[in-house]
Symmetry: C2
DNA sequence: GTGAAAGCGCTAACAT
DNA sequence: ATGTTAGCGCTTTCAC
């Protein structure tokens, strides 16, 4: 029993004028006489009139709504990005529709479709881990709807992107581990099709190379969530005896590994140094505090939205696609040893 | 240069039939001949036709979209609730629009308005901390749009609600503190206008009373974020000497307090026991692991969406408003001492 | 079995 | 200064 919300037609009938007069009066069109305008505005106010955004979008062919697709809202990094996006969006009169892919390709495809069905003006997306087919994005691209990827981007499509310098971050933090004395560093990495995973792995390898440390294939594992760490506990504990450092692809994985190792009697960082990626809030709440790389989630979100807005508002046909790279900042805390002199 | 997406009219023109025929064919209306139907469907498939959700909503006067207003997406409890909501919503063909109030009344009002403008079929809301005026919700209520409050509810309006038994949870965990030997328990509470804050405070007081422990007014502070804990560090440290337990209104506040106390040389739980509320993921990642109360966020979200759906779909005029109460479960971990015998 | 017409709420070009 | 008309994309009643 949803009550009928007052429409412009209702006002027109009630006041004995035409709908167009009401429409014009409400937006201060100069043609409308002072008297009529006041009368209409007063009435609209009284009945609490609000324009129907759906009708407006249909008419104008512009929804002033943008769609966001992220893997999972629960992660601090993603929710920070969303906040950054929203703050810019709101300030420009845009709304956002947020969808979670739950790291699942099928759901991601559904999300994109639903967003298109709702005629969003643009799309902001971060790929799911399992996305190995890009046709759903390709068709968005072909249809000419502006789209900006952030963090986990799609190299296969030439769009604007906002990313972290994953390679450099990984190289930086791995160097720090080496400089503080580590030589056998376990890397807990993510899915190989994920660009960021590749970059972080390459950065890790580059750092080893920089320091003439021989990489050890057995020390590169795919293991990127606390759940997986726990599932592979035995393997990890076995490896632990032969390693002196861990570089995990994200903080929660690093923390989970640390918990297990400490329970097994290893001292952090004395026996094993640990480093993460992302600077999740847990990183400085745990003891010892986690050495990691700070990612500017909020700012990345702002930047992504700004890139999209430039295509939406200025419409100046920007032909080249732009890439904004954020440098992650090394946060040396307590899970790694102080730098030894070189 | 957003490309024009194919409409039913486009298909009609291309195929030399009327729009109504296309519409009917696409939804398998029995009147349409096999041949025409196949022809239309094949063409629609080819041009990747998708119905315009905006036009549909306008026509049907139903958007199959529900609006969510939460304080901040970054908190695990809220994002879990959102996941619960979404999973149920999707399974029933509903979309969600998520808005953050950022604990700000003005933004909450704007959010509600924007959601109504978009003609959401229903609203799911958790109040901001600063909300002391309920007119925006009152007008939703009067307009007959179904609305369900969760967690931080609005007592002033008679709607469906999904809540945690905050009183009982607080009583339970405070009792646990007392049973394990605490007598001077500091309560770090939240804003007084927040119902959940009142309930948790009352539960705390009830437990003291149950155990004939005299409440001490100086040990009841309003301090509900890590930032505030740090801002009031000196006060906290000064109090620390005279207390033997802390019950914080949420886990992040409890953890922040623990960090400060440990840095000051207090041993947890030997000198001071600490308990939180909510069972945030950090609770079992920190060392010592935090004793707290588990809140069923995901299930609460599911329940809230189900209550809303009953009003949306079944439409059976449910007159009485329903209240679902979730019992929080005590998670005794390492920041409190083992129970002493009674 | 298919089409024409009206209407959801709104705007804008075109009357008057 | 105001009204009429058409149309955004879609559905549905009423014709034939």
């Amino acid at each position: 029993m949803k009550a009928h919300l007052t429409s412009i037609n209702d006002i027109a009938k009630a006041l004995g004028v035409s709908a167009s007069t009401v429409s014009r009066a409400l937006k201060d069109h100069p043609d409308i006489s002072e008297a009529t305008r006041e009368k209409i505005k007063a009435f609209a106010e009284k009945v609490n009139y609000r324009p129907n955004a759906l009708a407006l979008s249909l008419k104008k062919q512009v929804s002033r709504t943008i769609g966001i697709v992220v893997p999972e809202i629960v992660h601090h990094f993603f929710s920070s990005i969303i906040s950054g996006i929203e703050d810019i969006a709101y300030s420009k009169g845009y709304r956002v529709m947020i969808c979670q892919s739950n790291e699942d390709l099928a759901r991601e495809q559904m999300n994109v479709q639903a967003l298109l069905d709702h005629r969003v003006d643009g799309l902001l997306v971060c790929l799911s881990k399992s996305t190995n087919d890009f046709n759903h994005f390709l068709s968005v691209y072909r249809s000419g709807i502006p789209m900006v990827f952030f963090d986990r981007v799609c190299k296969e499509i030439d769009t604007d992107r906002v990313i972290t310098d994953d390679f450099n971050g990984a190289r930086l933090i791995t160097s720090h581990l080496i400089n503080s004395g580590c030589r056998r560093i376990l890397h807990l990495g993510t899915h190989p099709q994920l660009h960021i995973g590749q970059e972080r792995l390459q950065g890790y390898l580059q750092a080893l190379n920089d320091h003439k440390v021989t990489p050890i294939p057995e020390l590169i594992l795919r293991c990127d969530t606390p759940a997986e760490v726990h599932a592979r506990k035995d393997e990890l504990v076995k490896l632990a005896k032969s390693i002196d450092g861990i570089f995990a692809v994200n903080d929660s994985t690093a923390v989970a590994a640390m918990q297990i190792l400490r329970n097994e009697g290893f001292s952090i960082p004395r026996d094993i140094s640990i480093a993460g990626f992302g600077d999740d809030p847990i990183a400085d709440m745990i003891d010892p505090q986690l050495t990691t790389l700070e990612q500017q989630g909020y700012q990345m979100g702002q930047e992504a939205m700004n890139l999209l807005l430039e295509r939406l508002i200025d419409k100046q046909d920007i032909t080249e696609s732009r890439v904004k790279i954020f440098q992650p900042e090394l946060k040396i805390r307590k899970t790694t040893r102080a730098m030894a002199m070189k």
